[in-house]
């Protein structure tokens, strides 16, 4: 049985992947910021930020030529060297890539024509100042700049090697001092992978302050916390840096060998999006800036208890109504409940909720609101479930074994409850899982009508401000819950039904007993 459950759970993985594809498609519906608002094009960095945060520059599913620091640096250098129309932007790009680009730019300097070499060396000037390697005025002369950069590479190439960088950051993280900090500052963006990793690992305020300061200095963006920052500020800053690093990793890291092969799949919009979701990074709410995950955790209990209570109420009513109606088919009870259930089935949940809200005395407390919400939500499920139950019972009531039980002289209620109902419950258990999506949809409406501050209520607020991150998270949470619910109801079905149990036992090569 456990094996069956596990196998069933494993089968849910491709389903969830397919769901993620659907949801990814939904995210692509959100407009590209550069197309919606032409005015936004003017403030370049912010727009770029917004696009990068959603990986809009990447291809959707396959990236045959993932860009990394090497290709970016080479492209920027080519533009600067050729002194074409893109040289201004490329000079900025070189500055942005920073120290991480030097191991690819400086060795290539030799190969350039003297004029081109001078132009590139000049373009690197601001970078030298940022890295505290030289003063800008010393590098204004092209020949001096070329000489400086060539010498730097000849003398200090080893400092720019991976192990050296790792060591520098590790030493800073372990025993922070101003000297060690300036060592890392001199490495500029080359140290970012280790700096960001160290930020996540370490919560010691002083070191964190140093690390964020370095990162801010190198990237000329992002928050730097003081050593006296509060815990929340620190967490937010680290989250911000992680988020940024996730979107910009390949700007500062070179892809070689295996990482390049993997990047074909991961350096895509879908790959990045999926990776982020799987690692639980759902982003921040647009409504109040709260992290989505913690907000979801705060709101979920209301919605889940609403759904659970509604399910409980509808089951306890639906099973007897459906079963009794089917057993005494055509009786006054059956006709009345059938008609009533049919009406309830056709009545939209939002109309039921609205009617209930009007019927309630004004100024009713939170408890009363919750009760009414449960009733409104249960009403819809009740209609569906009782009709299923009735159909299932009709099926079972015709069976030979029921007639035999009656013929033996068993009391009617015993046949009904013990023989018939037990079998008639099975199909209802199976379809109960299928009913979950409708239940979640209803919960949104009901929460909105009764003002219960659950996930649905927050979703409506998120819709008002087009908060894509929250909406995605909610869809995802609903889809995962439903998929798991289906697995659970499937497993419950096979656990309850001896025939299926036997079948499974036989398939696994064990004795049917």
């Amino acid at each position: 049985m456990l094996r069956h459950a596990l196998r069933r759970l494993l089968w849910a993985v491709p389903t969830l992947l397919a769901t993620s594809l659907v949801l990814f498609f939904v995210t692509t519906l959100a407009p590209d910021p550069s197309r919606v608002d032409p005015a936004a094009l003017e403030d370049g960095p912010e727009l770029d930020q917004a696009r990068r945060a959603r990986f809009l520059d990447l291809p959707r599913f396959v990236n045959l030529a993932p860009a990394d620091v090497r290709s970016r640096a080479a492209a920027a250098m080519a533009h600067v060297a050729a002194a074409d129309s893109g040289r201004e932007a490329s000079a900025r790009e070189l500055r942005r890539l920073g120290g991480a680009a030097l191991p690819y730019v400086l060795p290539a300097l030799e190969a350039l024509a003297p004029d081109a070499r001078r132009r590139v060396a000049l373009a690197l000037g601001p970078l030298a100042e940022r890295m505290h390697l030289a003063v800008a005025s010393d590098l204004e002369e092209p020949e001096a700049a070329v000489l400086f950069w060539t010498r730097l590479w000849d003398d200090r190439a080893l400092d720019f090697s991976r192990p050296a960088v790792e060591r520098a950051v590790r030493r800073l993280a372990e025993h922070g001092s101003d000297d060690r900090e300036s060592d890392v500052v001199a490495l500029d963006t080359l140290a970012l992978p280790d700096v960001v990793r160290a930020m996540t690992a370490r919560i010691d305020p002083v070191t964190l302050a140093r690390l964020t300061r370095i990162a801010q200095h190198a990237t000329e963006r992002g928050p730097a916390v003081g050593s006296d920052a509060t815990r929340v500020e620190r967490e937010r800053a680290v989250a911000d840096w992680n988020e940024w690093w996730f979107a910009h990793t390949t700007d500062f890291v070179a892809l070689d060998g295996a990482s390049r092969a993997i990047a074909i799949v991961t350096e895509t919009r879908y790959g990045k999006w999926l990776k982020r979701i799987v690692s639980g990074e759902l982003g921040v709410s647009l409504v109040d800036g709260e992290p989505i995950l913690s907000k979801l955790r705060a709101r979920a209990p209301t919605t889940l208890s609403l759904c659970a209570l509604a399910t409980l109420v509808s089951w306890t009513l639906a099973v007897p109504i459906g079963a009794i109606g089917a057993w005494w088919r055509g009786s006054a009870f059956d006709v009345t409940t059938s008609a009533l259930m049919f009406l309830l089935y056709a009545l939209p949940t939002f109309v039921i909720a609205e009617l209930l809200r009007r019927a309630a005395p004004t100024g009713a407390g939170g408890g009363a609101q919750m009760t009414l919400a449960v009733v409104a939500l249960a009403a819809g499920s009740l209609a569906t479930l009782s009709r299923w139950q009735r159909t299932a019972m009709l099926e079972v009531a015709r069976q030979e074994f029921v007639r035999t039980a009656r013929a033996k002289g068993m009391p009617a209620w015993r046949v009904l409850v013990v023989h018939a109902l037990r079998n008639a419950l099975m199909p209802t258990v199976t379809v109960a899982g299928l009913h979950l999506p409708t239940l979640f949809g209803g919960a949104v409406v009901v929460e909105e009508v009764f003002g219960l501050r659950g996930v649905g209520f927050e979703t409506m607020r998120a819709i008002e401000v087009h908060d894509a991150a929250w909406l995605m998270a909610v869809l995802l949470a609903a889809a995962v819950t439903v998929t798991l619910g289906l697995v659970a109801s499937d497993v419950a079905y096979s656990a309850l039904d001896p025939r299926v149990r036997e079948l499974l036992g036989a398939r696994q090569g064990r004795s049917a007993l």
């Binding site: 939904v26 519906l29 049919f342 939209p348 609205e354 949104v444 869809l475």
Partner: protein, 360 residues
Amino acid sequence: MSTAERRDSVRASIAQVGKEAAPYVTMMRIALTELGRSRLARLGGLLMACVALTAACADLLASDLPIACRWRGATYVLPNVTRPAALDGLDCVRMRAESSAGDWLVEPLVGFGPTQAPGGAQGLLAPMKLGHPFGTDALGRDLFARVVHGARTALSLGFAGAAVLVVLGVTMGALAGFAGGGVDGVVTRAVEALSAIPTLLLVLVVGALVPHPTTATLLWTIALTRWTELARLVRGEVLLVLGTDYITAARALGASPARVLRRHVLPNAIGPALVAAAFGVASIILAEAAVDFLHVGAPDTVASWGEELGEARLHAQAWWLIAFPGTALLATLVGLNLIGEAARSALDPRLRFESPSSTS
């Protein structure tokens, strides 16, 4: 004997057998008879006929322009449908007040259009009175006109969406069942994935993310995600049929896969498709009403029941805002569900030939 001759002789013998055989009853015939005999189906049909008639004649029941009129020397027939430019800016009230000698007009039942707001503070949220049989809403629009034109919106949306849904569902289901293997796997995964997403939530989210959401967005969202149930049914049906002897016989006779699919497999899918269509129309009408009720985005339809119901939330004293659109919505949904339910039981032999043994 050449191939063509042989084929002709086979055809002739088949025709002969067809003539000699006793008249047979098809499954479709049985189901239709059963459907006609069911009282509930007839009730549903009657309800839907009423709604459809209302939708078709919406302009005759409520419009800002008359059904026919003579105005400034010219005669107009059905100006409320054709909308001649000469009558631009006019409406029944003004025409009545400004009519000169020789002008006449045949007014519709209610002389207000669904989007027309006659104005005046006393016209807002007015209860039922002469001229406004259902009262007016918070913008002063005539509720009768809005309910009547809402029927048109609901039915056209519902049927358009259901058409897409049925075509997709039958195609995907047949494809999965008939092709099997990898195709089946992909379709099955897609069905599972899509049915895990709550429709209402998805519709709301898509409406919020798309830059300019329209009712068409909603329609496509539902049609493209709700074909799953039908596809599941059709796939099951196809798999069931493929195992039968008559398929083997058809194949043995040399029928091409396309012919087997078209002549022998797909007709079995008509039943589930009809049932799914009825419920599909209902679910689209319901979703549209729910979205408008929640006031997500600006409504772009002429009139919608859900929009009026949503207004009712803000104006608790205006009971007519919930009563009339609510009844219209309920009647439509009940009608569709009755038809769908009756079609389902008419097509399901197990539900049809029920022995009354359990009732004692």
